[in-house]
Symmetry: C2
């Protein structure tokens, strides 16, 4: 299992990328991992033990350029051929790695994947699938921002890819797939939802468990495992959720801090509960969001990812290959195409 890391990507690069790689190797001994750290060799070496080449299955692939957060994604991918992101994607393209992980610019990671890895045959749009916690486990939301103005077929393909990912990586058996909508009734929705519904209802029930329309509140209540939507709605919902969770915790913290001395004592005892809550919504636990539909594993991490998030993303990248997610997606998408013919 060979995973390339865009070592220069993210707010805490390359330190947290390197530390995450080291942790992954320690923790996932059974995965037979080899990690290629792609980036500025000198900077990377600062965070590796001197004897790393004897003790860790890590290699460094030196690069001289970096794609910045405000670079135009596609242009940067084309121009900065020796950037850590582009080279990491190339390693996957050339078969030297199975997947790559990046905490850098999401737009650039998507552009690099599309331009360098290319889309799986018959896939019209690759989509970003974001795992969202719910009290009972995890719900996968896709597309969370790669595409807008999606056609019904794109949503259908998202459903297929999301279900396969949920099954193999999130270990959810027979994942319940829902179409994000404004009401449960089949008559509800905009043009996009109304045209997509029949396609999803037509999925092979032996392979895909489509449960119908789901509403916004179902995303976090554990009643659905894979939520299919257009990237515009998905992205707004995701960012709204991040903002809301943050706001609620802020309000709670403020109320505790400005409270009486008894309330302050209570905070001390409350810490375990607060930690449990934070953990539930800690994206670092979830190992990033995969870009589904390209020829290779691409795991996109939040810019503020620290070592733990990178470690988990590496685990996901390895499992992506272990469980042959790409081939599974490929076959199912091909089977769906045959249906239409």
């Amino acid at each position: 299992m060979k995973v390339a890391i865009d070592a220069m990507g993210g707010d805490f690069a390359p330190q947290e990328n390197v530390l995450g790689a080291i942790e992954a190797l320690k923790e996932y001994k059974d995965k037979n991992l080899e990690i290629i750290l792609v980036g500025n060799k000198d900077q990377i070496l600062e965070f590796l033990p001197q004897d790393y080449s004897d003790t860790l299955n890590i290699k460094i692939h030196n690069t001289t350029e970096v794609i910045e957060m405000d670079d135009h994604p596609a242009a940067a991918v084309r121009e900065k051929k020796d950037s850590s992101l582009v080279v990491a994607a190339r390693l996957v393209k050339d078969g030297l790695c199975d997947s790559f992980v990046s905490a850098g610019s999401t737009g650039a990671a998507v552009a690099a994947s599309l331009l360098i890895l290319g889309r799986i045959k018959n896939i019209e749009r690759a989509t970003i699938a974001t795992p969202i916690p719910n009290p009972a486990g995890t719900t996968l939301l896709l597309d969370s921002g790669a595409n807008v103005d999606s056609k019904p077929k794109h949503l259908l393909q998202s459903a297929i890819m999301g279900s396969i990912y949920a099954e193999h990586i999130l270990k959810i058996s027979n994942p319940r797939i829902g179409l994000l909508n404004i009401g449960e009734e089949e008559s509800k929705g905009n043009k996009q939802a109304l045209e997509t519904l029949p396609l999803l209802k037509n999925l092979d029930r032996n392979k895909f468990n489509f449960i119908g329309n789901v509403e916004g509140r179902d995303i976090t209540n554990g009643s659905v495992d894979v939520v299919v939507c257009d990237g515009f709605v998905g992205n707004v919902v995701l960012k709204f959720g991040e903002g809301l969770a943050y706001t609620i915790l802020q309000i709670l913290r403020e109320a505790l801090e400005t409270g009486s001395i008894l309330t302050k004592i209570a905070t001390f005892f409350l810490l375990p509960a607060m930690r449990s809550l934070k953990k539930k919504f800690d994206y670092a636990e979830f190992g990033g969001a995969p870009l589904l539909g390209v020829n290779g594993g691409c795991i996109i991490c939040h810019g503020s990812s620290k070592a733990k998030a990178i470690k988990n993303a590496i685990r996901v990248a390895a499992e992506f290959k272990e469980n042959d997610v790409l081939n599974n997606i490929s076959k199912s998408i091909a089977a769906e195409e045959k249906k239409e013919i």
Copy 2:
């Protein structure tokens, strides 16, 4: 200020509607309120004091039908001519009341308003504007579900109506208007957002304070006062927010309940903070969501509204008239039309 209440609407009708009316009369003495409770007279009388006609400025308008939650909205409005909702709307149409309040089916309230009150001249789509709490105050989100597949002009009109409402009812001076999008940059967004942006940028800066694209996280962080969006996105976001807030509180409560004895003691001291949080997100405080763009005040309340929510909705209904919101909207929309000619 004459307000009609759909007394049979909502999960706790008619009790909470009647109690809300009584509380409104007690609390808002300065508003010179007269309330018409529209519904089954016998059921309503159960919750009024015997001497109500001497002590309260309440009248009862008897009706014999009720629109149920699962009735087809437009059909029900046309067929059940003696339903509490339809008659309440008629009272406004006939000038006997200024606004009506309903906690019944949102779809039916919208249908009744459109069919009976009709749209303000030049308004193409009426929109539901939902107030959402933020740490610094309130943000208005519209459209939160009346229309899908909105055209850019509909969003422009939402911006105008929302700003006027925010100014007069939410008492926000020079409300900051944002277009809900997936990024701040002007190049971001789907077709609908890209075509709407120039229209909003063209708003008269002396009258409307358009600040540009805003993202999902800005809805609750206090950085924008009026968020303009299509009803599909708005509705998904709203329901997602309700679900998420509920989920977070559930997780926190569970962690507290299953914790050690010290944690349980902490709960006792934490209660004020929890209450403060709940209050922040208590829709009952906000007085319902107005339907903007129709010829008359229509305030839609959550189905689970109790007396406090109804009371606040009555206040909003009164302020709607007091501040001449309808005429303000009318004039601004007409001025915008002239611009286009």
